[in-house]
């Protein structure tokens, strides 16, 4: 088990998946996670208000439904 990842990362899934993880792979995995996590984290901090209701994506999609101008 790599010893430089925070212990809190090791939920059951992750322990089972990563018991043979190499140090190199652990480092590159951490980079990949950061690359995905950080932009969304920053975006949420910028965009989301504490009182915002989560948007209902399907409703918004249907609200903007195209119709032909016949």
């Amino acid at each position: 088990m790599p010893d430089d990842l925070p212990a809190a990362l090791f939920t059951l899934d992750r322990v089972l998946l990563h018991q043979n993880l190499s140090q190199d792979r652990a480092a590159s995995l951490a980079d990949e996670v950061r690359a995905l996590n950080d932009p969304v984290c920053e975006l949420a901090a910028e965009k989301r208000d504490f009182f915002d209701e989560p948007s209902d994506f399907l409703s918004v999609l249907r609200q903007y439904a195209w119709s032909p101008k016949l």
Binding site: L17, L29, A44, P54, F57
Partner: protein, 472 residues
Amino acid sequence: MVPEALDKTISEIRADLDARRITSRELAEQVIKAVSVWQPCINAFLSFDPESLLEQADASDRLRAQNGARGPLEGIPLGYKDMFDRVGHTATAGTVLLDDRKPEVDAEVIARLERAGAIWAGGLNMAECVASPSGHNPHFGAVANPWNPEYTAAGSSGGSGAAVAARVVFGALGSDTGGSIRLPASVNGVVGLKPTYGRVSRKGAAPRAPSLDVIGPLARTAEDCALLLDCIAGSDPRDPTTWAAPEHDAMDLLGMDLSGLRVATSQTPPFDSCEPDVAAAHTAAIGVIEGCTGGVKPCDLPKPDLLYALADVLSKVEAAALHGTWMRERPGDYSAFVYKRTEVGFHIPAQRYFEACAMRGRFLAEFMDAVFSHADILILPVMPVAVPKLKDTAADTPEGIRRVLGRMTALTRPFNYLGLPSISVPCGFDRNGLPVAFQLIGPPFSEPLLLAMAHAYQDRTDWHRHAPPQIA
């Protein structure tokens, strides 16, 4: 030369079948011959059963003689990405994990196309676990591009794109989570439609990321895609994301007046970073579209790279959730590429997934206001780079995946997050003689508009009439 019948579009061969100029049996025999020539070269099929195809063709000819055609696809050989349930067949989803699965009900799209009269040539090669645009599959071999087998047919619906381009089927089903219909359509020189999220039922289709996955057709023309879409679209109680939207048949609207249409394109990153030959083909296509609409104007697209990241969070987390048990219990049944690509999802915090879901409607609304409040359609390249060679998409390191495959999907994945429809249309060739395409993106459920625009473009150009060099 391509056999004359196989070089025809679905609409053309339908007319021949209706007029009894050819039988479905004769068509099936030509398909069998063509597959025997092409399959060793491009590896497009995972399952191909000549006897079954002939039996289906004979049954179709009998039905037509007795009662007339069941629908517009009567007796026409199609293919499907090998990820759809068919009773009596094992869909691989490009992996060995599903070897023991025996579907008891047909996938909804399979059933709908059969009701329209389609007959099946077989299951088409695809990316392992629907997980990559590379064109490679470690279990069944790569799909090669029929224009030049050194190059990728892309993915994940690579077999669908290659088979349609090679004229061994008239059309095929694919699925698109981040570009998996549009990319194979683009690199193989055919038309591929990614419908609006919820337009087509996914019931009975192997998932990659259910909140992004859509099913759609690949064919040689926009008209054929319209015909196929009309057969498969609509609500399905077995897929609650589908919507009983006001249905407008795409075929009925194919000739709509586009003279006042407002078209937007983007000159902001990453859309301005195309390689020169790709940019030249795209610019020429815009010139044609300007000539048959109200004009093309530049616009700034809101945050395409962030939309990409948000889609990636959904895709990675959902794939990890779907594959967790197998990855623990059968890690040896995954390629290193798919394993590494999927395992990232186990480490994305739940907060990020929630945020990516929670902001999705808001970003769609912002995108609609920013782009579609002053344009009807958006035109962009499908891929900013020339078609890569298969050896260059064989990445198995995270850096390689990001470098090569991230570039391929840079312009497609954002629209999966937004759920918007997009169609890939061939518009020329790159410096290596491989196809180039543009994509048209529209408001939700605007497939008839996109298909009409693509149809008008194909009326004025002949890129879709070019066929790959035939094998002796």
